[in-house]
């Protein structure tokens, strides 16, 4: 028997702007950052994040208490997928095991001290990762969801989450090692 969702109300039948505002206060930056790490440029992430909360406005009465973040992340993932589909000239991730050459995109170490440059490099590496791996990687490493939460969010088995995370880390590590070699850094791969 499906448990009815509790309604976010302060009166019997009136959902409130305060509920959505509270969700925004708590999770807007997280949602926005998730969209950014999934490949959306800043302006597109702004728009997509607003669309996420616009959906929340429409469906606030069905969001279960304590499930706001999961609801928002689910919306954000769908927004990001739609955005990817709409891109005509998106960089295709490699599937043959060969690594794309990122050498021409690597800023200097001095530039990397500036966070924006570091994010450009990071996003360039993530852009070359297959999208199914990237989503799991971003949710685990940046949003710090555990595998149970990711599995529930993506509606995939937990073993699949673990497999994708492992492959994502391998992909990330290979690309990072190439960058480190180019920059002349010593270090171990993650």
């Amino acid at each position: 028997m499906q448990e009815p969702a509790l309604r976010l109300v302060d009166s019997e039948d009136a959902p409130t702007a305060g509920a959505v505002q509270a969700l925004a206060d708590a999770h807007f930056a997280e949602v926005w950052r998730l969209l950014r790490r999934l490949g959306l440029p800043e302006a597109d992430a702004d728009d997509a994040a607003q669309q996420v909360f616009a959906v929340a406005c429409r469906r606030v009465s069905t969001i279960e208490p304590g499930r706001g973040r999961a609801f928002l992340y689910g919306c954000a993932l769908r927004m990001a997928a739609k955005w990817r589909e709409s891109q005509q000239q998106r960089v295709q991730p490699t599937t043959t095991g060969e690594l794309d050459d990122v050498d021409d995109e690597v800023p200097s170490l001095e530039e990397l001290v500036e966070r924006r440059k570091a994010r450009v490099l990071l996003d360039g590496i993530l852009d070359r990762m297959p999208s199914d791996l990237r989503v799991v990687f971003v949710l685990f490493e940046f949003e710090e969801l555990d595998s149970h939460e990711i599995a529930a969010l993506l509606e995939i088995p937990r073993g699949t989450v673990a497999s994708r995370l492992r492959r994502a880390r391998e992909d990330f590590g290979k690309r990072l090692r190439r960058v480190e070699k180019q920059l002349g850094l010593r270090g171990r791969a993650p």
Binding site: L6, L8, D10, A14, P15, T16, A17, A19, V20, Q21, A22, L23, A24, D25, A26, H27, F28, A29, E30, R33, R37, E42, A45, D46, A49, Q50, F53, A54, C57, R58, P65, G68, S108, E110, L112, V113, E114, R115, R119, L121, L122, D123, F140, E144, S147, H148, R158, A162, L165, R169, L176, V179, E180, L183, L185, R186, G187, R188, A189, P190
Partner: protein
Amino acid sequence: MKDPERLSRGPATELTQLLLEAGAEEQPSAQARRRLAAVIAAAAGAGALGTSATAAATSHVLELAPANVASGLSGSVPAATASSATPAGAKLGWLVLTKWLGIGALSGAAAWPVVHQLTPSEHPPPRRNLTVAGSATPRPIPVQTRGERAPGIASSLRETAMKPEPGSELHPPRTLPPSQVPVATTERLAPLERVLLAAEVRFVEQGRAAFQRNAFQETLALLAPYEERFPKQQLLTEVLFLRMEAFSHSGDANRARALAALVLSREIAEAQAARARQVLGR
């Protein structure tokens, strides 16, 4: 099946840490926040939502922590903002870094918040800089394995850090003699060295901060992977000194004396030498 340790908390290269931190700390612009508020207000005005209730009442229904709601759009993610540093802040940090290393490394408690434009009272500890919880004996940080799920590791580390070790409440926060180990100023360092040195400084500062909280086991655990992570070991003397103090204050006199002898064999400031001799019982 257990989740692996997150890259930001396990042994990782400086570049990995740099990229992960940069990705985790990015924030939407103030304009984006204002537009969002307008979207929500417009939705309410269009009749999709009813009249607004107080955030506190709503947060109760949503089971959100009041602090999250009260923080408002300008600071809604304390964990994410805690480790942020604007480019301007990074440049300012180089000046402070020079001062920190050249004058009073270990006693410069103000250097940490200045470098990162934080004050401890305003933000919780950065969630990504702590690597492993303290243990009874120091041990190297394990290579990434499928250990226990660690969704709460950040919070458990913070709890460990916030909770004084037994008996420590009897002692005031520790101070250390200023370090005067000569270190090349940042102006003479190449960009690569500056980046690596900054990472090394942050690493050692974690240990120093734990020591000042009287969390001696945590100090040792945080400093354990130093030699492995920083092959150049530019701050080895500071690390050895911190370890010596941590062992000394946690009652392990043998290890403290061994480290004191090692510290005295290196080029160190007189204040540090005096303390090391004291540990040796001279």
